[in-house]
């Protein structure tokens, strides 16, 4: 057959070749392409007996794409396994077949079976067949390029999605309540981001108690082989957290976790850690704010209770002071005139500070003023007040209390000391007396224990000093106390002209001892001189 004739005959097929390529290149997969190819070939060669096979590598077995009499057709192909691109035919030329190599080195094997009219395939048919196979290869190349492009776009979109998801997860973790919800959200996000099949978040507290969260729920993570796992852990305040992911998925089955997965899991774990730390910081800030407000209220209560000015007592000079160590004092002091003209001098010390101490001081002040108005003996009053304080306070709260009721006319003083530092009395002859009479501190026991009062007389020139333990126990940076001995010596030696001078002097002396160290306890004192 002359080349002119071949050219002439093939020219009739040009349009058909163009249309066929358009159809084939619109395929989304090799399976779809093979179905299109079947239609193209059957239209061109008037046969439905078409088989199409594909294998990724020469030594692999054929995958069937189109199956018509495939066993017989496979036998035909096996005969020409080493004759790539050659168009072979059966002895009567009613069947033609070939194996061709595609652009990615994979192979296709095609068999065109008998035609409807039974006519043999001609040389022109064989050339046309070869051209169609070339079209298939070109369309296959286009398909591979399209798939590669799609894969790249998918991968880029997936990276962007992972970044967004990481940011959103961080925000959501910071809002979610602490506990299993936090771990569940973090775990499910880590699993989705890394394409893990399943996983576990574990929390082990300092006592070894284990709490597990699984995704999906109720899976057996221990059953997964170690090479299919990825884990990350951290410890926060003695609590150990671990995230373990298992069996990374792909469309072709299980694959190993990679460096990106490790980075993603690490980022999620850090977000969880940050959320836990932030939550703790927020709680602490809230507690501090609550404490601050509580102290403000306590300070306000105390301001209303503690005296602004002490009463002027004819024939006497009196001064007092209260220096709280931290904002609100746990000490109480007061000097006030009773309706019978006597003067009550009180110093008390409540255990603890802040609102609970302040409320207890308030109770003490109210009950004290009420009972003093009844003019009952101090020992009886002390029993009643102890009962009230016991009922108003918790087990760890009690009050040391000292009251001295002075009759200004004759200098007689009634004293009750309930577990407080002894009052000091300086006689004219410069001898010091310690007044310890009384009982246990208020609020410790409610067994009706008696309080023993003491009577004494303050003559002209004699001095009374009532104080709280903040003075003898004031500490310097070497944790050395001012001591009772030093206080007593100072009391005896420092005979100032006025009560104010003495108070200022003792405070100065204490500060000289502490040398600028932060005041460890409240300082409270009353100093009385009979002129």
């Amino acid at each position: 057959m002359s080349s002119d004739l071949i050219t002439q005959k093939l020219s009739f097929h040009v349009k058909s070749f163009q249309e066929s390529f358009e159809i084939l290149s619109g395929s989304n997969s090799i399976f779809e392409m093979s179905k299109h190819f079947e239609r193209v070939l059957s239209g061109s060669f008037f046969t439905t007996g078409i088989s199409l096979f594909h294998k990724k590598e020469k030594d692999l077995s054929w995958d069937t794409l189109l199956k018509k009499n495939s066993d017989e057709h496979l036998r035909l192909l096996n005969k020409v396994e080493d004759e790539l691109f050659r168009i072979s035919s059966s002895s009567d030329s009613t069947e033609i077949y070939t194996i061709s190599k595609l652009v990615d080195s994979s192979q296709i094997g095609i068999v065109l079976g008998k035609r409807f009219d039974g006519n043999p395939y001609t040389e022109i048919d064989k050339i046309t067949f070869q051209i169609f196979i070339q079209l298939f290869d070109n369309a296959y190349q286009a398909l591979l390029s399209l798939q590669k492009e799609k894969k790249l776009i998918f991968s880029l979109n997936n990276r962007v999605s992972q970044l967004y998801s990481l940011i959103d997860t961080g925000i959501e973790l910071s809002k979610i309540k602490m506990g299993s919800d936090l771990l569940e959200l973090a775990l499910s996000r880590a699993i989705a981001l890394t394409n893990a099949s399943f996983g576990r978040a574990r929390r082990v507290n300092s006592k070894g108690k284990v709490e597990d969260v699984f995704f999906p729920p109720n899976i057996d993570i221990e059953a997964s082989p170690d090479e299919n796992k990825l884990s990350k852990s951290f410890t926060d305040y003695g609590i150990e957290y671990e995230f373990a992911l298992c069996e990374k998925e792909s469309r072709d089955g299980m694959i190993k976790f990679d460096d990106t997965d490790e980075l993603l899991l690490g980022a999620i774990a850090r977000q969880v850690q940050a959320a836990i730390e932030n939550d703790r910081a927020n709680k602490e800030a809230l507690e501090n704010e609550t404490m601050k407000r509580e102290l403000e209220v306590a300070a306000e209560i105390q301001k209303r209770i503690l005296p602004v000015d002490l009463p002027v007592i004819e024939g006497y000079d009196i001064a007092g002071i209260n220096i709280p160590s931290k904002g609100v004092s746990g000490d109480y002091y007061n000097v006030f005139e009773l309706d019978d003209g006597r003067i009550a001098l009180i110093v008390a010390d409540v255990t603890g500070k802040g609102m609970p101490a302040s409320l207890l001081v308030s109770t003490l002040d109210a009950s004290l003023r009420s009972y003093l108005d009844f003019h009952i003996p101090l020992s009886e009053m002390a029993v009643k007040m102890n009962a009230i304080i016991y009922k108003s306070s918790t087990a760890d709260k009690f009050i040391t209390f000292l009251i001295a009721v002075l009759n200004p006319a004759n200098g007689e003083i009634d004293i009750i000391n309930a577990g407080h530092n002894p009052a000091l009395l300086l006689r004219k002859d410069n001898k010091m007396e310690m007044i310890e009479a009384g009982g246990v501190a208020f609020g410790m026991f409610d067994m009706g224990l008696p309080f023993e009062g003491k009577k004494l007389k303050l003559d002209k020139g004699e001095r009374l000093f009532i104080f709280s333990d903040g003075i003898p126990e004031a500490m310097n940076k070497d944790e050395e106390e001012y001591t009772d001995e030093k206080l007593e010596k100072f009391f005896v030696e420092e005979k100032t002209d006025s009560a104010d001078e003495f108070i200022n002097a003792i405070v100065t002396d204490v500060k000289l001892h502490t040398k600028g160290e932060i005041q460890s306890d409240d300082i409270t004192a009353i100093y009385l001189i009979r002129k």
Partner: protein
């Protein structure tokens, strides 16, 4: 591979409605694709996937959904999603699913 995924489907007029429950991963995505293929050959062009009970989807699961979208797009059809979790909706948007698929609140919204 863990299979924590359930799929139910039914026809509402000419719309194939699939409801998923659980992790849409390789296994879940494959199940969706298989169910879709069963109906695709019979000419279905509208598919609604209700993912109210799925709040975790990975990229393998998404690749199956993209295949469904492509097949429907090829026939002039469309995939619809309903009851999307906000984080999944964001992921689908970034992955470009809504260039060819739509969000609806119910099957009645599909014309």
């Amino acid at each position: 591979m863990i299979k924590d995924f359930e799929l139910t489907s039914n026809m509402v007029n000419d719309v194939l409605v699939m409801k998923t429950e659980g992790y849409i991963n390789n296994a879940g995505g494959e199940k969706i694709a298989q169910e879709f293929d069963k109906h695709y050959s019979s000419g279905i062009t509208k598919v609604l996937i209700d993912i109210e009970k799925s709040n975790v989807v990975n990229s393998i699961g998404i690749s199956f959904l993209i295949e469904v979208i492509e097949k429907l797009n090829h026939k002039g059809g469309k995939l619809y999603f309903s009851n999307l979790d906000p984080s999944i909706e964001k992921t689908f948007t970034i992955m470009g699913l809504f260039q060819f698929a739509d969000k609806v609140s119910s099957v009645e919204e599909i014309k």
